[in-house]
């Protein structure tokens, strides 16, 4: 259960990684099959290539073992994994003990969804890995997939930047699977092998009996991670700051949004946007023709369907605090709007207000549900008592 249970984490500690030599993809599948055979697990939810082998999809696999095409490290993110977990457990806890393989951002989104009861973590074992990023769907579908796959595999262990990765991936600073029940440590292993690191009691139990050496110290990995993180953090800051410059002000922002077709597909694939009916598609915003004519009069015209900017900004007020910068929105945008950058930027800033990191810990309440008595004074307009003396 809940991998991000802090107490759990502290107890287990982080220096217990098991070093496994060999190709990570193969070994991880062996490991999972082993758990299925030994009935420690009854099912695994993870990506596998689809029939036409040109894309990936989520599969729940069990009794007969994993599909041959199962791939713990897919080069693209078709459906955000947290959504897949949500499909499975929205109506109740997983029926059987199930391992789920998630990218770090999918893991974070899963934790966020657990907070809002769209995911039930009980009976799930969350496994995550050091993610090199993912290709944009469009690039992957239109490019030379073999080459791209090779480049991706090469990146898995070398902690090199994935060339052509999605914009959000290239500035991702939370690229490890920390917080999962089992973390697959690729960084620092230099392709010779990888670590399986327990993040909870449960993870520890599952790793029992996995043969590997404990000799390979995790320090190398920690060092590599912190270097990469420092780099990424710097890059993230710079990229978002300079991106902010390009979208600041109504003129710039509307230019960026001008290709938006108001299809709301970004929210539909968003793992955090869990509403069954989006507020911005609801009756709340519908009005009579005359009212729209009036709006048109006020602002020299009204784009139809209306409320395009309201949708984006409004959605940000609803979920940017929980935005995990997974990039699913941008992949699904048919109009090439840099949605994920917009949301990453918005999320960075709104999350900072509450020092909230989505997906960091299950125990951290969603900021809208809690408050402190003394906080956020800066957002209040200070009263100048002498303002209108004459009265």
């Amino acid at each position: 259960m809940a991998a991000t249970n802090k107490a759990n984490m502290d107890e287990v500690g982080m220096n217990k990684g098991i070093w496994v030599e060999g190709r990570a993809k193969k070994k991880v599948l062996e490991f999972l099959n082993g758990l299925l055979n030994s009935k420690k697990l009854e099912a695994v939810l993870m990506p596998a290539t689809n029939r036409t082998k040109d894309s990936y999809s989520w599969f729940l696999m069990g009794k007969d073992g994993l599909l041959e095409s199962a791939d713990p490290f897919p080069p693209v993110m078709t459906t955000q994994g947290a959504r897949a977990v949500s499909y499975l457990t929205k109506k109740g806890r997983a029926w059987k003990k199930t391992a789920v393989l998630l990218r770090p951002c999918e893991l974070r989104a899963t934790i966020e969804l657990a907070k809002i009861r769209q995911v039930e973590l009980e009976n799930l074992v969350l496994i995550s890995f050091d993610c090199p990023g993912a290709y944009p769907l469009e690039k992957y579908f239109n490019g030379d997939q073999k080459k791209l796959d090779e480049a991706f595999d090469a990146c898995l262990s070398k902690q090199a930047e994935l060339e052509g990765a999605r914009a959000v991936c290239s500035i991702c600073n939370r690229f490890t699977g920390r917080g999962a029940d089992i973390e697959i440590g690729l960084i620092g292993g230099e392709a010779k092998g990888f670590w399986l690191i327990p993040g909870s009691r449960e993870g520890e139990d599952l790793l029992e009996g996995v043969t590997g050496s404990a000799s390979h110290k995790l320090e190398a990995r920690e060092k590599a991670i912190s270097e990469l993180r420092a780099q990424r953090e710097e890059k993230r800051k710079q990229t978002l700051d300079s991106f902010q410059e390009t979208v600041k002000g109504p003129e710039n922002l509307m230019r960026v949004l001008s290709s938006c077709i108001n299809c709301h597909n970004c929210s539909r694939v968003c793992p955090i946007c869990f509403c069954r009916e989006c507020y911005f598609d609801s009756k709340a915003l519908s009005s009579e023709a005359d009212a729209m004519l009036q709006r048109a009069q006020r602002k020299n015209g009204l784009r139809l369907p209306p409320d395009l900017l309201l949708f984006h900004l409004g959605r940000m007020t609803h979920m940017s605090i929980s935005c995990v910068s997974c990039g699913a929105c941008e992949d699904a945008c048919p109009a090439d709007v840099p949605v994920s950058m917009l949301f990453s930027l918005a999320g960075r800033n709104t999350q900072a207000v509450f020092e909230y990191e989505p997906g960091r810990s299950l125990e951290e309440a969603v900021p809208y549900t809690v408050f402190k008595f003394e906080e956020l004074k800066d957002f209040e307009a200070p009263y100048i008592k002498e303002y209108s003396k004459e009265q």
């Binding site: 602002k299 409004g314 209040e380």
Partner: protein, 143 residues
């Protein structure tokens, strides 16, 4: 638009049904004069103001949106104002992030008995928005 005509901003003032409204009523009872282009928008509690309303107003023609309700600790509904403050913080952060004049949105607590504070806030906000000028966002047809 007549350029010479003084700019009269279009302002919505979101008031909670208790203190915000009470403050405005006290101002009324005391016959305090304040800017007449301010339109009251009444909700049960500041905690019931969805930032979406404010965004909608700013995009659709308002030059400013002020919110007043019970002081912290005084909420008729226990804690609505604390949550309101959080939402307003998010909203203002977002507006700031995208350079959309976060100063067009004000949150200031006004108690039931604070007629003067209410009128002052209305006037000050009006002057403040006048100084800021028209809301460029509200003039765009592509939003």
């Amino acid at each position: 638009m007549d350029e010479k005509k003084e700019f009269t901003p279009s302002i919505i003032y979101g008031l909670c049904s208790w203190c915000g409204t009470g403050g405005s009523e006290t101002a009324g009872a005391m016959h305090l004069q304040y800017a007449d282009n301010i339109r009251p928008f009444r909700v049960p509690c500041t905690g019931a103001i969805d930032p979406v309303y404010i965004l909608r107003a700013l995009i659709e023609g308002a030059d400013g949106f002020a919110v007043s309700g019970c002081h912290p600790g005084d909420c008729h509904f226990d804690s609505g104002n604390y949550r309101a403050r959080r939402r307003m913080a998010v909203l203002k952060t977002l507006l700031e992030t995208f350079g959309l004049d976060s100063e067009r949105v004000w949150l200031r607590w006004v108690g039931h008995g604070e007629g003067k504070r209410f009128a002052d806030t209305a006037n000050e906000f009006n002057d403040h928005i006048k100084k800021m000028g028209k809301n460029p966002l509200a003039q765009r047809r592509d939003t």
